[in-house]
Amino acid sequence: MHHAHIDKFAYQDSVIHRLDSRVKFIAVLVFTAMVISLPRTSLSILACFAIGPFAVLVLGGIPLRFVFKQILLVSPFVLVLALSCPLYDRTPLTVAFGPFVWRGTLGWMRCFAILGKFVVTMLALIGLVSTTRFNDLLAGLQRLGVPKLLVIQLGFLYRYIFVLIDRAHHILQARAGRKLRNLGFKRELRTASAMVGSLFIRSIDTAEHINIAMQGRGFDGRWRSISKLQIRRADLLFALIAVSFMLVLYVFVKPVLQ
């Protein structure tokens, strides 16, 4: 079965794809922290920050249509949070942009700021995931000192989430094939809980089989891997550009646009 893989462009080749995963990860982490710390009323500086991830996506050859589709997929969670702002903060506010004047409330301003920060940080995150193979990202995290157990868990999550989605899809198909009428809320709920239970039990079964496969190949509790990561000149150049870009915006441009 084909899934909408979030990392489906990670196997391409470009200047950005060839960069060390650790450099990209740290850059995205710092970038996200900076964007989050921006004032809630400043939208123009957000637009300037968006230039960075946009450049990464373009240089990495990631189609923007794919990027916005991914953002839309996760947007409902943030939309609920952002759209609640105008309801509780109705302080009047006037914003002038050249000849245009907008009269609204502080709540709406915060709503736009949350959405703006969400889009800009998601651009950076998608830029990272779409230009870095997941195993390189895991190897990078391990080299950065993230606990091995957490890295292993992330690896298993990435490997088996698709297997689990397939199984859930098959169960849903089996239900749809035999569900000939509306069963009512209570029975639907009972069916849903049975389906979740079935998935859970099959997951335990899979976990036992994986344990056998691991032990059968000599696993003794110590995780061994071959790291292919290497910091090169291109990585240092990227780090320098990223740091300069963020510092210039944060130290010089932000005070002007605020």
């Binding site: 997941f134 195993n135 089989h209 190949r217 000599g218 696993f219 003794d220 891997s225």
Partner: protein, 240 residues
């Protein structure tokens, strides 16, 4: 010279009292290609797990002369590679390279040796160009071949495979037959597909209800219509 597998009066029962294996006596020489045939629930998979030391019962099991016990487990799992029924259970790493390297790394080989073994194993199964692929990007046939590569990279003397032909189309099944017949290791394969079994093995062990019913020449056993029918099996139709 020690035998590849030697099982003496081995029995194993589930906690509810059902006997999964009863009084199993089996001896397999090095280099043999043996199929364990039998209906579902006959005990074939349980017997394969027993050989790899995952199941403890009464009786004795020897692998390459070593008794299957806690002390010998590491050596036994180095010389006996087990391939599970579902390749998704066998391929648990983010990339094919990592999966095939998992065993050799646990054998504490140096990095260059590990890389060499991975390259050789992937070459043998015809997946040399796919080392960096994630397992969920592989087709069913490729996953099956990749699962075998994870074992081959450990260069075991004995390989056990549980229903390796499951969910394969005829072309992939033929590729798998070619791959398995080309291997020099001792092969022990559990299967319900008699055509597949007939194409690979020279010896068949017929199991039912946890017991060995017949053991001998594969052609003779699988052409015995009465014996095969009694145990819910069919006579192969496309014999090579």
């Amino acid at each position: 010279m020690s035998k590849a597998i030697e099982i003496e009066n081995f029995s194993y029962g589930y906690p509810d009292g059902t006997m999964a294996l009863s009084e199993i006596k089996l001896s397999i020489e090095h280099g043999q290609k043996v199929v364990l045939i039998g209906p579902n629930g006959a005990g074939k998979s349980t017997l394969l797990l027993t050989m790899a030391g995952f199941i403890k019962g009464t009786g004795k099991v020897f692998v390459d002369g070593l008794e299957v016990n806690r002390k010998n487990l590491k050596n036994i799992r180095t010389c006996l590679g087990s391939c599970l029924e579902n390749p998704d259970d066998q391929l648990f790493m983010p990339t094919l390279f990592d999966d095939v390297a998992f065993g050799p790394l646990n054998m504490r080989l140096d990095v260059e040796q590990v890389k060499k073994r991975v390259a050789e194993a992937l070459q043998t199964v015809g997946l040399a160009a796919m080392a960096d692929k994630a397992p969920h990007h592989l087709s069913a046939g490729q996953k099956r071949a990749a699962a075998i590569a994870t074992i081959l990279s450990m260069t075991p003397k004995i390989i056990t495979l549980d229903e390796p032909d499951g969910s394969l189309d005829p072309r992939n099944r033929n590729n798998l037959i070619n791959l398995l017949t080309g291997l020099t290791q001792t092969l022990i394969i559990a299967t319900c597909n008699m055509n597949f079994a007939a194409a690979i093995a020279n010896r068949a062990v017929l199991m039912d209800k946890g017991r060995i019913i017949a053991d001998g020449d594969a052609k003779e056993i699988m052409s015995d219509f009465k014996l095969m029918s009694e145990h819910g099996l069919e006579v192969p139709t496309a014999r090579d």
